[in-house]
């Protein structure tokens, strides 16, 4: 039996009554009570998530921008203001997705990257390999000593300002998808819920104190269970489910993150141009009773597809899913999903399903 990795907030979760699970080798809280109540808490007020298992990686040196221009499918040249963030995929030469990530432009000699927990080691190895052959002067530094806490919901920013003296002056003018340093901390107006809020990087030793300060201001802890239903309603992809190394971003609903217009070359570009997408990611709304789940088969007039993520939507009180289907399938089509021994009807919809506290279907 391998020992699960722990974040600096492990003891805090247990003290708050969290149900802990093995999440990709990390001992993480899946919920503290009712997952549905935690979900509503974030849509209606605010909640805090321990996302310290995600990995912060700094890339420093002359020519970081040129390197990222080549490394990532989205174009680092879109980042012109210090602190601005960009969502991108990092691709294999065949177009498969190694990971999705956020890069923050700090200055021309420093970009910060945040990658997924389960892929972090692989990502860093890949970045180092590319650096070795394309930009050997760059330093890639995983910031293992940084914890990360996401505070999300309509009241999230105000609660952070209450709990963290001095943070309001620095962060109240942050536009969405940008960040600012505050001493050893890093405050980003980003998230994975479809709500306003911050993701805050903080030295591991200080994280339990910040967590406790937020709790004291009435911010409720939210587990990874609600994090998953929140991001699904918000139409945000989850790596390993909605995309992986076997599919390209154009077939994963991520065409908006791939810059094929600029003249620059990037890893995976040739493969994407050579193979027009035959499939696409769509939203499904179950009209029959039941619950959609990942890997269920989807039957359409244009061939078979598969659900990549499915669950019950607490906001819509219906089951929803993301599914990869033949490209000819259109919004409004009715499709059938194999659920155990039944075929259930679902409608193809444009996602997101819910954001900013409301259903948006």
């Amino acid at each position: 039996m391998t020992t699960l990795k722990q974040t600096p907030l492990n003891a805090a979760h247990r003290a708050m009554g969290a149900k802990m699970v093995d999440f990709g080798g990390w001992d993480m809280p899946v919920n503290y009570g009712s997952q549905i109540e935690e979900h509503h808490q974030v849509r209606r007020d605010c909640g805090m998530f321990d996302v310290s298992h995600m990995r912060v990686v700094d890339i420093k040196g002359d020519g970081v921008r040129a390197f990222l221009r080549y490394l990532l499918a989205n174009n680092a040249d879109k980042l012109t203001t210090p602190g601005k963030a960009l969502y991108s995929t990092m691709l294999l030469p065949d177009g498969g997705v190694i990971d999705d990530l956020i890069i923050y432009f700090m200055n021309e000699a420093w970009f910060r990257v945040v990658v997924n927990a389960g892929t972090a080691d692989k990502d860093i190895a890949w970045m180092k390999e590319q650096v070795a052959s394309h930009a050997p002067n760059l330093a890639i530094t995983p910031r293992m000593e940084l914890a990360m806490i996401a505070v999300q919901g309509p009241n999230a920013r105000a609660k952070v300002w209450e709990a963290l003296p001095g943070s309001q002056e620095l962060s109240e003018n942050l536009v969405p998808f940008s960040a600012v340093e505050m001493g050893e901390m890093f405050i980003a107006r980003t998230g994975y819920t479809g709500e306003d809020g911050f993701e805050i990087m903080i030295p591991a030793k200080a994280a339990p104190f910040f967590w406790a300060a937020l709790a004291e201001k009435g911010v409720k802890p939210i587990g990874l269970g609600a994090r998953d239903t929140l991001r699904l309603e918000a139409g945000m992809n989850l790596y390993g489910q909605d995309m992986d190394e076997l599919v390209n971003p154009l077939e994963s609903g991520l065409a908006w993150t791939v810059d094929l217009k600029s003249a620059r070359d990037f890893i995976g570009k040739a493969a994407l141009l050579a193979h027009p997408p035959a499939r696409k990611l769509v939203g499904l709304l179950l009209t029959d009773k039941g619950v959609l789940r990942g890997h269920q088969k989807v039957h359409t007039a244009h061939g078979e597809g598969e659900i990549t993520s499915g669950s019950f939507s607490p906001t819509l009180e219906k089951s929803i899913a993301l599914a990869r289907v033949p490209a000819e399938v259109a919004i409004g089509d009715v499709v059938q999903v194999s659920v155990r021994d039944k075929m259930l009807n679902a409608q193809v919809v444009k996602y997101p399903f819910a954001r900013n506290g409301k259903a948006v279907l």
Partner: protein, 129 residues
């Protein structure tokens, strides 16, 4: 919440109650609902269906996962709890009141082959290690 002494229990975490009319009511235990979390959907077996002991016959789905429910003993389904359609969360709120379906046992004595509350508690504790 402790497991009521007047019920019998299975290794797949169903509870069984013998009713006055000789039918048995089946639900899932406190331990099972805790593991699954917020319930959002229940699919009960069709009335009139004959079930073998240990046969998969119903499904409960929480936000997190789907779980099969098994027939504790052999018998015929006589009734399902329609109230759970509109309020699956009552399984979380009071698992020992939220029965899913009732059966007429082929052999009433089969109920005695199931675990009592004390034995079930030992079983749950042993699974946790």
């Amino acid at each position: 919440m402790s497991n009521p002494d007047n019920l019998k229990y299975t290794t797949s975490h169903e509870w069984v109650k013998t009713e006055a009319d000789g039918t048995i009511s089946i639900g899932i235990t406190q331990h099972a609902q805790e593991l699954l979390g917020d319930m959002v959907f229940v699919e009960a077996p069709a009335v009139g269906r004959h079930l073998a002991a240990r046969e998969e016959c119903a499904v409960v789905e929480s936000v997190k996962a789907a779980a099969d429910v098994y027939a504790p003993i052999s018998g015929t389904v006589t009734e399902t709890n329609g109230a759970l359609d509109g309020s699956p969360e009552s399984i979380n709120e009071d698992p020992y009141a939220a029965w899913m379906f009732r059966m007429k046992p082929d052999n009433a004595a089969d109920v005695n082959t199931l675990m009592d509350a004390a034995a079930y508690q030992v079983f749950v504790d042993s699974e946790a290690h």
